[in-house]
């Protein structure tokens, strides 16, 4: 099994018995369109240790979203193996994957994708509906998550009553409320102004530090380099390198 290059810190953490947060082994994702085959991901192998905050960067069309979707278990590789938290997911059926996502994945999107007819509180409550928690426990979890993203005073606002940055905070609260194994975010700052983007990056960094949450983030935003532990670079579907982020160097 091929391992991507790691900094010393990564090597240290590998000594612990916890399985890697993400493991990709010779993963291909090929889209067939008529006679053409688009190699969105070509033979990608990588290992992300637990409790890291990592960025996936690369030009448009390089396969970042494709990679993230495979890790999140909403897409299947054409070949190769994907394991998250030590559990192989590439062989799971759609129905099993749905149940698995509910427990292990928190998803954050570029356009927040909140349900407009639900308040912040109700949006964050959605993933908890799939658990066996009772109403009171759900309420407590939701409030904790919303406070963690700094929205303790906006719980009963509807998405249209919130700024873009605040909406993204609600989306992040929704992603962490079930305490997932890993949070995946696809260009979470892509639709935000500089200040809000910085705040969101700070928030993700803080969640990673305080709760030890593994966060895999796709981004175009060069500011992100200051916040993450590692940067995985993709180009034309190929993993071209892994470099430490400035956070790690600092």
């Amino acid at each position: 099994m091929q391992r991507a290059a790691h900094s010393e810190g990564a090597a240290l953490r590998l000594d612990t018995p916890t399985p890697p947060a993400v493991e990709l082994d010779q993963v291909r994702r090929i889209y067939r369109r008529d006679e053409f085959a688009v190699h969105a991901l070509d033979n990608v192998s990588l290992t992300i240790p637990p409790a890291r905050f990592v960025a996936i960067m690369g030009p448009s069309g390089s396969g970042k979203t494709t990679l993230l979707n495979l890790i999140a278990g909403i897409d299947h590789p054409s070949s190769g193996r994907v394991a998250v938290g030590g559990e192989e997911i590439s062989s799971k059926k759609d129905r099993e994957l749905a149940a698995w996502r509910a427990r292990h994945i928190g998803l954050v999107f570029q356009f927040y994708n909140l349900i407009p007819v639900l308040t912040a509180r109700e949006n964050v409550d959605l993933p908890l509906l799939l658990t066996t928690l009772n109403k009171r426990d759900r309420r407590a979890h939701v409030e904790t998550a919303l406070r963690a993203v700094g929205l303790g005073d906006r719980m009963d606002h509807y998405p249209r009553q919130l700024s873009g940055g605040q909406e993204q905070r609600v989306a992040i609260a929704r992603a962490i409320v079930t305490d997932p194994t890993i949070v995946v975010a696809d260009e979470p700052t892509g639709d935000l102004d500089a200040t809000s983007a910085e705040e969101i990056l700070n928030l993700l960094g803080e969640l990673n530090r305080r709760f030890g949450k593994t966060i895999v983030m796709v981004t175009h935003d060069s500011r992100a380099e200051h916040h993450v532990d590692e940067i995985y670079r993709l180009d034309k579907g190929i993993l071209t390198g892994v470099e430490p982020g400035r956070r790690r160097l600092a």
Binding site: T65, N69, A72, I74, D75, D94, R95, A98, A99, W100, R101, A102, R103, I105, L107, F109, Q110, F111, N113, I115, P116, V117, L118, E122, L126, P127, L129, L130, K135, R174
Partner: protein, 376 residues
């Protein structure tokens, strides 16, 4: 059910659309229940168990051909026969030609035994048996012409070239057709000059179980005579008169079904639109881990709720409306049978499910990645 709030919130998303859909389903079910009620009312009347041991014996060629009044004796002598009453149609009008209502003459002696379900007061029955010009009148006709007990009225003949003068001695009640007027056949016979023919001879059989036996006995008895008979249960006998309306009833039913079908298409279009708008949201729910069947159930529940609210409004509206204005006919008050409520309920469930099933199952199964990519 913790998803109920989500369903309700989604319905409130586009209130105008939800309300318009609800109203169109309500209107269609209103029309449907009203139209479907008509034949059901008649069928209920025909199935009335009170009349199950009453049979009508008439000329095989048709009621208007008549049968000899002398058949009465032979019929009365047949086993299981309890009462025999001959009837002749008069078909008179009160003042105007438009004043038509069912009026006929009957033998007075066994009226009480033949029609206990008409609940004629004993003293009225007695007067009917003693006064040759006596008449018993149903409540609707009493009301329509402002008749009162003891009033002397004249009916103008339309079939016959003479009039009859009658004294109202009592009313028909209970299950009697509310528009009927009956008077004595001996009186009619006298003014007709005693032709000795009657339209129908009513026969009361001791038990409903013996009806087939009596029918066979009578028709065999009069076979090969000058006037062969056809004897049939009361329900079938009235059914012949109503048969003329059957086509109309079929049309009404068809119209009702067409209206529902048209609204079903409208509802399907609305459901498709409302689900297509939410493709991304649905993909997000699935990415969170909502199972396909839960999403399908929520989308169907939305559509079902609208349809059932439409049913409540439309069908129950029709039920209450028909309750409050009873339209009187020969058949009686036209009320929506409870069965129509249930039929309309089933139709509403069908509209709700069928209109949403295709777009809902497509949305619940659509590839998540593609659905998410569609916005970005």
């Amino acid at each position: 059910m913790k998803y109920a709030a989500l369903v309700v919130k989604n319905l409130a998303r586009s209130k105008r659309r939800t309300i318009f859909t609800l109203i169109s389903i309500a209107v269609s079910l209103f029309i449907f229940s009203a139209l479907v009620s008509m034949p059901a009312v008649v069928n209920r009347f025909l199935a009335d168990p009170a009349a199950s041991n009453r049979v009508a014996c008439h000329n095989k060629a048709g009621v208007t051909y008549g049968i000899p009044e002398a058949y009465k004796q032979a019929i009365a002598a047949t086993p299981h026969v309890e009462a025999v009453v001959a009837q002749s149609w008069f078909g008179g009008i009160y003042h105007e030609v438009a004043d038509q209502f069912p009026n006929m003459s009957v033998d007075p002696e066994q009226v009480g035994a033949m029609w206990p379900d008409w609940e004629i007061a004993p003293d009225a029955l007695e007067r009917f048996q003693h006064l040759r010009t006596a008449a018993l009148v149903g409540p609707e006709t009493m009301r329509r012409f402002g008749f009162h007990l003891g009033q002397r009225i004249m009916l103008r003949g339309t079939i016959y070239p003479f009039n009859v003068t009658l004294d109202i001695v009592g009313t028909l009640n209970g299950k009697a057709p509310p528009s009927f007027l009956v008077f004595r056949r001996d009186y009619l016979e006298e003014v007709r000059g005693r032709p000795g023919f009657v339209d129908v001879i009513w026969v009361r059989v001791d038990r409903a179980a013996n009806v087939p036996q009596v029918i066979t006995a009578l028709d065999e008895n009069f076979a090969n005579s000058s006037a062969e008979t056809l004897t049939e249960p009361e329900a079938a006998f009235y059914g012949n008169f109503i048969a003329g309306y059957r086509v109309f009833f079929r049309m009404a039913e068809l119209m009702g079904i067409l209206v529902v079908f048209a609204i079903g298409l409208v509802a399907a279009n609305t459901a498709a639109m409302s689900i297509r708008e939410r493709r991304t949201e649905i993909a997000v729910l699935r990415s969170i881990g909502f199972p396909t069947r839960t999403i399908l159930a929520m989308l169907l529940a939305e559509s079902l709720l609208i349809a059932l609210a439409g049913w409540l409004l439309g069908c129950c509206g029709a039920f209450l409306l028909l309750r409050s204005i009873t339209v009187q006919g020969v058949v009686g008050a036209i009320q929506m049978p409870t069965s129509v409520l249930f039929i309309a309920f089933a139709v509403a469930v069908l509209i709700g499910l069928v209109s949403a099933i295709v777009p809902a199952s497509a949305a619940a199964r659509r590839n998540i990645v593609e659905a998410l990519r569609a916005v970005a």
